[in-house]
């Protein structure tokens, strides 16, 4: 029972969604919209589990007093402060359980934390990619064998496509780069995508039929 009912649910909803795709009628659309709405709502309940997990792991680390045990305190402080700002605000001069008002977010600190803590860290993490793309290129682009050489040459040609110091060969490099990006690129991506499509479809089918059930626990 503990496994059969969930597997039956997977089958029923999976098959329903397949048929729904072919039925344009209004009632089929209504059910489709309801189902998607439900998933968002269940997601929020799951988020509560997630936050609980984060808090528990942090507290375990703090209690164990292993290396770096102090940092989870910062995580928890950030978490609770932001929750406090996110769930309270002033409206008509009184503090309460508010979020949005006509003037925007009811607690300006929520916005401040977003703009001056989340955004700078986020963009800097993203910007780290500039450095990592350089170090990855240095480390991995070695002409060790045919495959590695192809990888290396294609990357070099594309990276040189607007380089002004190439003299007369410059235009040819630019043409070669755009050919690489338009022709082999298209072919390879299409081959990969067709493969992915088949793999996904097969996996989805195995899930619906209950063949692939590794994601569902035992007992």
């Amino acid at each position: 029972m503990r496994r059969q009912i969930p597997l039956a649910l997977v089958f029923i909803f999976g098959v329903f969604m397949i048929f729904q795709y072919f039925v344009p009628h209004e009632s089929s659309e209504w059910i489709y919209e309801f189902l998607l709405d439900w998933i968002y709502i269940i997601g929020i309940f799951a988020l509560a589990l997630g936050i609980w997990s984060l808090i528990r792991v942090s507290i375990t680390k703090i209690k164990a007093r292993k290396a770096n045990w102090g940092y989870p305190i910062i995580t928890l402080m950030g978490l609770f402060l932001m929750i406090l700002f996110g769930f309270t605000g002033y409206r008509n001069g009184s503090l309460g359980f508010h979020f949005m008002t006509a003037e925007g977010l009811s607690n300006p600190m929520f916005r401040n934390f977003f703009d001056y803590i989340l955004i700078p860290i986020q963009s800097t993490m993203f910007a780290l990619l500039a450095f990592f793309i350089a170090s990855a290129a240095y480390r991995a682009f070695r002409a060790r064998n045919v495959l590695a050489s192809l990888l290396l040459v294609a990357a070099l040609v594309v990276m040189l496509r607007f380089n002004p110091y190439l003299g007369p060969i410059g235009p040819y490099v630019a043409d070669a780069a755009s050919w690489l990006l338009n022709v082999p690129n298209l072919a390879a991506k299409r081959a990969i995508i067709i493969g992915i499509g088949l793999g996904m479809v097969a996996t989805a089918l195995k899930i619906i039929l209950g063949i692939e059930r590794g994601y569902m626990g035992k007992g």
Binding site: I42, A46, L49, I51, S53, T60, A136, R139, L205, Y215
Partner: protein, 451 residues
């Protein structure tokens, strides 16, 4: 001076572009527009229920006016009109009041609105009395069709009732919008929802063929047919990597990526996680699984727990093997980066759906000296994994991995089905090539999905 026509012309154009504020501010004193002879009207106007839809739409088609792109070449656009009963204004005024109403008044108005909506088919029967022609849209010159699309939500102002008799007319309009030619009226026509989308027949055929193919090979595999699968370096590395971690006494980091439980790539990754976790439990190595999505975390916990049970070591399982970090892309990456440099895992596995963070993770992992095995179905991230990881499962290989690791005949059977589908793709592509070269459009149209 053709004052009048120009003023009217401007007026109509402005009304159309919704800039009421500027309508009157246009004194015209220097401009001349020559008078335009009336254009030919459109012909053969037809109206039909919109195909393959949920109803609430009518498709109009016509033959272009003789003066559109030819003849006097004076037609600039087509105005589409529908006959609208005055009763619809009553309905709109109920909607208006409802917008501002509260409490019991709103309740009452909502009831009135629903009653009014129920009467829509009936009031359209009074055509051509108690109603008037109203413009519902514009088609540009050269276009010979128009879709009158409403919505199905009764709360909306754009609600268009099904099973109602509608009447249409199309005007050919010149630059001087007073100079126009009306078509014949078409109607009555009714909209309704269809039960089967014929535009999607190719998909339906593919579903049936692929489904039957898979079931056939799975059944055959169950009966015990031997199946060959070629070796995949990335898969073989998984076993070695777990062994290496055990020898070194270091943990294994398994990253499920940014996918949600909605992504098949993530679900494939659960299966791989299950296999890895089972072996980890047998070898008694430490496993770390930080998660980005809370539902993914929940499923991953179930998976790992079941794997430990399978391996006969349920007591070694604890809930925090799989833990939630945060649902923010780069915060998750920052935390996983930190984990990599502090726990120094022997092996990092990245399986599932990844975005821009792929390279940040893989480079940090390389810095920490871990063996790295990646697999993703995100084509854009494959180059970075290929460059920065030791082994990469490319696209479809990620989905095949679970079958490879498990070596269960049923799962291998479905791989065979995938291979047959690929063979079919090659044959179809070759045929399609011929078809395209020989202008054999009938074949190409077999694959066109229209809606």
């Amino acid at each position: 001076m053709k004052y009048k026509s120009l003023v009217i012309l401007l007026f109509i154009f402005c009304a159309f572009t919704l800039s009421a504020a500027q309508e009157d501010a246009a004194p015209v004193d220097t401009m001349q527009v020559d008078s335009i002879p009336p254009p030919a009207p459109v012909s053969m106007l037809t109206a039909k229920d919109g195909e393959n839809d949920h109803g609430h739409s009518i498709t109009l088609r016509w033959e272009l006016s003789a003066d559109d792109g030819a003849g006097q070449n004076s037609v600039l656009s087509y105005d589409v009109f529908r006959w609208v009963p005055f009763f619809m204004d009553t309905l709109h005024s109920i909607r208006d009041s409802l917008d501002v109403a509260e409490g019991a008044v709103a309740e009452k108005l909502r009831e009135q609105r629903d009653q009014a909506i129920a009467m829509i088919p009936q009031v359209h029967k009074s055509y051509p009395e108690q109603g008037e022609w109203r413009k519902i849209g514009t088609a540009l010159s050269g276009q010979a069709s128009f879709n009158d699309v409403g919505v199905k939500e009764r709360e909306s102002r754009d609600y268009m009732a099904d099973h109602t008799d509608y009447y249409y007319r199309v005007d050919a309009v010149t630059a001087d919008s007073t100079v126009r030619a009306a078509s014949e009226v078409v109607g009555p026509v009714r909209s309704f929802g269809q039960l089967f989308n014929t535009g999607r027949i190719p998909v339906f055929v593919a579903v049936l063929v692929f489904g039957l193919l898979t079931i056939f090979f799975v059944v055959r595999a169950k009966k015990g047919a031997e199946l060959y699968v070629r070796p995949l370096a990335g898969i073989e590395a998984v076993d070695d990597a777990i062994g290496r971690a055990t020898e070194m006494g270091k943990p294994i980091l398994y990253v499920l990526g940014l996918g949600t439980a909605a992504d098949i790539g993530t679900i494939a990754s659960f299966t791989i996680l299950g296999r890895v976790a089972k072996r980890v439990a047998e070898y008694q190595t430490k496993l770390i699984v930080p998660c980005y999505d809370p539902i993914v975390m929940t499923v991953a916990q179930e998976t790992v727990k079941a794997a430990f049970l399978d391996a006969g070591r349920p007591d070694d399982y604890y809930e925090d093997i799989v833990y939630f970090v945060t649902q923010s892309q780069f915060a998750y990456v920052a935390a996983v980066n930190g984990t990599m440099l502090r726990e120094l895992p022997a092996t990092n596995m990245y399986m599932g759906v990844f975005y821009a963070e792929s390279l940040i993770l893989a480079e940090t992992g390389a810095l920490a000296g871990s063996i790295q095995i990646a697999g993703t179905d995100q084509v854009a991230q494959l180059p970075f994994f290929i460059v920065a990881c030791d082994y990469t499962l490319i696209g479809e290989e990620l989905y095949a991995a679970s079958a490879y690791l498990g070596r269960e005949p049923i799962l291998l059977g479905s791989l065979k089905a995938q291979d047959y589908a690929k063979a079919a793709v090659i044959i179809l592509a070759a045929l399609g090539l011929l078809a395209a070269s020989l202008d054999w459009t009938a074949f190409i149209n077999l694959f066109s999905v229209t809606s």
